[in-house]
Subunit: 419 residues, 2 copies
């Protein structure tokens, strides 16, 4: 057994033990610990800045881009925001203990389905050090122990944050080993973590497609994936044009680099000649490049011809692919075939058409007359979000605290036996 | 690309297409198709018997045990039971379309969380041909397309059953390729299926630990696992002894070869000297071998000393490991450490103690004063069961129709954009 294996397995056993103690904490106890964790962060400002400086120096030596260095940077304001985030999680309702269902059987047994923590969760992430606090805190709020494995760029910052959380929390009774950070940043530690299904109930990779694919290919336990968003907007013949333009602009340009941004516009042929020039003008004025199918290019001289690859590309940039479709069915087929089942919108004043679209599109979020940008835990009112799942099992779409829980059946009887 | 890859990928694409049509069927349409499938089975009795005879001859030549040959055998009675099972599934409530949650946001958006089919499900199973019908029918009822990969022993029977279902169902409008059986039984087909995350949303292996382990190590999509049941019964000092004996006998001897059978008895030291001889006599009279820890062997001369391996063994036989514990906490620790988180029971007249046990034991089913044998979809009133999940994500414990669904968020607005 390598040193990495030995260390990570030891952390696994410790996390499992911690999880049994965590599941017994009341909501009040957990919230008191959360406030103590926030205090721990606030008391560790000097240590956090010092650790972060080591990462920044190493990052500059490695030649990281200024955008990367900015992501990596902690300052007093960002550290205070981290602490405020933790205090805020303490105010959210605790899903653990919620009775999801209850019924009695003819033999007199009473069956209760109750939300319980998942147990132990591995988080594998890349450069942003604030993920250390965000992920660990949401997992703790729901009674789960975490094993964190961050990227090498932020290793000193991550260690300091994890220590501040654990030390601060311990003052209010946080069980040992609730939050553990793997001290290695090489690839083997990911493989060991992903293979450790005896001690880890779930892995959540937070990062780019390459990282997620690696974890998926290695993992023996469930993985909740946050893949691409190739999001669509379909403009129906009965759409309010002004509304459609507003929604398209908001969906495409409000924050182009995120997964719930619009990538493909589908327009019904009945309105294409009238609608496309209007929306194109509005988009081009905001710097958006249009890549159109043949019909679109026939109407819009400013459009560049789209290739097959455009329909399956998440641009994350001010580029929009545009296609003219002959029917709702063609729009739905295009979305189900080329989309990533993330967020797809219809704009229409016809309720019947809209309901058909919502039922037929196989995506986590299907929207009628609202922007794609609303696929977000905060916008859904979840208070906190661990990510937007592109999976269909357990968690789909915005993942809040509920999705960090499992359930258990508690059955109470009076001596019933099976005949 | 090998022929197996080509064929299985083609089936994957077809299953995905079928799933989009299936999700649009109403409950009435699906139920009519189910009855037509049952009729398809009834009309195919001669073909089914003929196909089954080929498997039986091959099985005899291969030297299968008589128990294995019995599992493989179809006769008129078993075929009629299969058809009746399908008719019965038609009468169950359809979970698809159920609104799980609904709320409005301050900006006027209405958010609805609705049950939808998962999409496409792979089922990998071993010798029993009736799994072909059981699994495909439950998946269809919930709007899912299936790709089935059965064992080589039953290949002719499986093909005939899948054909009868698809042909019968088609008469009532079953979409093509809803139920597809992989014509290969070699290992490569499992690997190809498990790697095909583009077309398959979920894999459920139904069979022994070796099969599940193989699927887990290969799968890129979620796997719902039905691992061992190392189930415990803890007898508290405040237990009704007669009730504890009845529950232990029922849990251990009613059907020893299944996952919800009792494997380990934990007895509080306060009552061990009085209680152990009584329960041991009752168990030994029913042919149960007792393997005890040191304290148990000190009380029961008939007990064989247990080794460490006994505590983590699923005997599936008339053998019971018995341990004397000093406290509820010790019982819980033993269960959480050695158990398989399947089904664990406390017998006690003290409600407070019982509730502590139910909260602290990390198992899918925790029972108070009832037999372990009630961890079962039928006993829970689910009407049908695809298995008993030992996973914590998505499905835990008995898996009924609900657990074969996903959900989708449908958001309706009036032009909302994100500011």
């Amino acid at each position: 057994m390598s040193q990495i294996q030995e260390t990570v397995h030891q952390m696994g056993r410790q996390a499992r033990d911690a999880s049994y103690r965590l599941s017994q904490l009341s909501s009040d106890e957990k919230n008191a610990i959360l406030h103590a964790m926030a205090a721990g962060i606030r008391e560790s400002v000097p240590q956090l800045l010092k650790a972060n400086a080591l990462d920044l120096v190493a990052g500059e030596e490695k030649g990281l881009s200024s955008a990367m260095l900015d992501r990596l940077t902690l300052d007093k304001k960002r550290i205070e925001a981290m602490a405020e985030g933790i205090d805020q999680v303490a105010t959210l309702p605790d899903p653990v203990g919620q009775v999801l269902d209850q019924w009695d059987r003819p033999n007199g047994m009473s069956i209760e389905q109750v939300r319980v923590p998942i147990g132990t969760i591995g988080i594998i992430y890349e450069s942003r050090p604030n993920v250390t606090a965000d992920a660990a805190v949401l997992c703790f709020k729901t009674g789960n122990a975490t094993i964190l494995r961050g990227g090498s760029e932020a290793i000193h910052s991550n260690r300091a944050i994890a220590e501040a959380l654990q030390t601060g929390g311990a003052k209010a009774g946080l069980p040992d080993h609730t939050i553990q950070l793997i001290p290695f940043t090489d690839r083997e530690s990911v493989a060991v973590l992903a293979g450790m299904d005896k001690y880890l109930d779930l892995i959540i990779p937070r990062g780019g497609k390459g990282l997620i694919e690696t974890v998926v290919s290695l993992a023996r336990m469930p993985v909740i994936k946050h893949y691409d968003g190739i999001c669509h907007l379909y403009v129906d013949p009965e759409a309010d044009h002004e509304m459609a333009i507003n929604i398209a602009i908001n969906s495409k340009t409000q924050k182009p680099g995120v997964c719930n941004t619009l990538e493909t516009l589908l327009v019904h042929e009945k309105i294409a000649a009238e609608f496309l020039p209007k929306i194109s003008a509005a988009l081009v004025a905001r710097g958006v490049e249009i890549r159109g199918d043949e019909k679109t290019c026939g109407i819009l001289t400013e459009a560049i011809p789209a290739t097959e690859a455009d329909w399956e590309t998440e641009y994350l940039d001010l580029i929009l692919s545009v296609k003219v479709v002959g029917s709702l069915e063609e729009a739905v087929e295009h979305i189900n075939h080329y989309g990533s089942h993330h967020t797809d919108v219809i704009v229409s004043q016809n309720q019947v058409t809209a309901e058909k679209f919502l039922r037929a599109v196989d995506s986590a979020c299907v929207f009628h007359n609202v922007s794609t940008r609303f696929n977000d835990g905060g916008e859904f009112g979840f208070g906190a979000e661990i990510g937007i799942s592109t999976d269909k099992l357990h968690a789909r779409g915005p993942m809040g605290l509920r999705e960090l829980t499992s359930y258990q059946y508690r059955v109470r009887g009076t001596g019933q036996v099976k005949s």
